[in-house]
Amino acid sequence: MCGIVGLFLKKDDMRPQLGTLLSDMLITMTDRGPDSAGVAIYGAETPGQVKITIQSDTPDVAYDGLVTAMATEIGVTPDLRRVDTHAVLTVAEADEPAARDWVMARGLRIMGAGHAMEIYKEVGLPADVTERFGLRAMGGSHGIGHTRMATESAVTTDGAHPFSTADDQCLVHNGSLSNHNQMRRKLARQGVHTTSENDTEVGAAYISARIAGGDSLGEALEGTLRDLDGFFTFVTGTRNGFGVVRDPIACKPAVMAETDDYVAFASEYRAFADLPGIEGARVWEPEPATVYFWER
């Protein structure tokens, strides 16, 4: 069991509230996943700049002098914004590959990267994780989140969701994939590599590989129904929006709500209880084996 939530705002004037609304949704899903929690927030973009979200188990040491070291060693001077165990490094688009290689060579984890997306995830209760990262204060256009009750791999930061396998793309998952080892090998032969033993990361990598190969988000999500075996309710985030797909058996719960102001997704209706105007929202259960997505 896990809890997943998503919120896509249709109106810009609600953007400052995104973090608060998403935090409440996530904390309500604690019963479904108390092990770890994580969010992907699609926030402000700076033209020509990419944000790389990194994580360290020893942030005091890891981030001390990091900017100077990167500037000295590869000639890239990032803007560093530390958020608890995470830090967001902002670099020019052209410097992203070099910055990523340098960060990884230093033994730091990359949670995700993109023009808009920042990813924050850690082991712990959702209320504690959101507090540590100051999620309530974060604004943005849309975000997805996950509360984890681990089944397929260990309870670690690496095993927490969302998983990002391409810039501005991420995935949260409720369920378990049964052909993930086979798919991981298949993707590896195509040059697509994953970093954890987690089944969901393979799902994320599959979707990213399809999009990199020219598929639309909708086509990539259709592909999961054919190529991934197991139970899943997936919510994917992209730079412009989010998508939802459930496996044909659809035993993992899902509910959606839409008003003039937002589209919301959750594992359970409870997560919607504090959303503004939910009383008048259109609330429905997404159909099995059917792809839904919203883009701005």
Partner: protein, 227 residues
């Protein structure tokens, strides 16, 4: 008429109050405000009581109901009225998966759509869905009636026993051992009664009946080689 605000009163206390009132048998009326999608609302009511839930509920609302009448003005999460024995549960919105599962008796009315596995393993309950139902509904259904005014999803009535299934709209596919059967006068009478009880505006003649071909009841020696 008593009102309980679930934003102020813990769920356990709400259910204890309702259960005690049901046992007292005075057919009292309760309104629950602010259910906020809570699980297990108004479960285990073991006697006559009328409960109106203003809003939407989570898992297992009205589970194990006996004699009580429960109305949810919003939508219900998975397993609504699971294992109901008697009484009536009305959902004015949609119901999520396995609505009315294993129900032994009583009436479950869903005014919106029901999701997958509606009436799975039903054992005597009557279920009337004004909208559509999802896949694998009435799987291994043993007894009772499932009435659907809209359409049914894939594998309706798979491995069915003696439950009767009535669908007005289309059936995407029938499950193993489920077949269409003739609608006889007694079925039209039964259906008219269920539609009236459920406040459904439909004519019995518009429905088709489905039931068990009874081919899976016994081991067939001709299939021995397949095991």
């Amino acid at each position: 008429m008593s009102t309980i605000d679930m934003a102020q009163t813990p769920l356990r206390q709400v259910n204890e109050t309702l259960q005690a009132q049901a046992l007292a048998g005075a057919n009292a009326e309760y309104t629950l405000d602010n259910p906020r999608g809570a699980h297990a609302v108004a479960v285990g009511l073991n006697g006559p009581l009328s409960v109106r839930v203003n809003g939407s509920t989570g898992y297992y609302c009205g589970g194990m109901n006996k004699e009580a009448t429960i109305t949810v003005t919003g939508s219900a999460g998975p397993g609504v009225a699971e294992n109901m024995m008697s009484g009536t549960v009305v959902i004015e919105g949609d119901a999520s998966q396995y609505a009315g599962a294993t129900g032994h008796g009583g009436l479950l009315v869903i005014k919106g759509n029901a999701s997958s596995r509606c009436g799975i393993s039903m054992k005597g309950i009557d279920i009337v869905v004004h909208g559509n139902i999802g896949h694998m509904s009435a799987f291994m259904a043993q007894k009772g009636n499932l009435v659907v005014l809209g359409d049914a999803g894939d594998a309706l009535g798979d491995s069915l026993y003696e439950a009767r299934l009535f669908v007005r709209g289309s059936v995407k596919s029938l499950g193993a051992d489920c077949i269409e059967k003739e609608m006889r006068p007694e079925h039209l009478t039964l259906l008219a009664d269920l539609l009236a009880k459920a406040g459904a505006d439909a004519k019995p003649e518009e429905f088709r009946r489905y039931g068990s071909a009874r081919k899976l009841y016994n081991f067939n020696i001709d299939h021995a080689g397949e095991y």
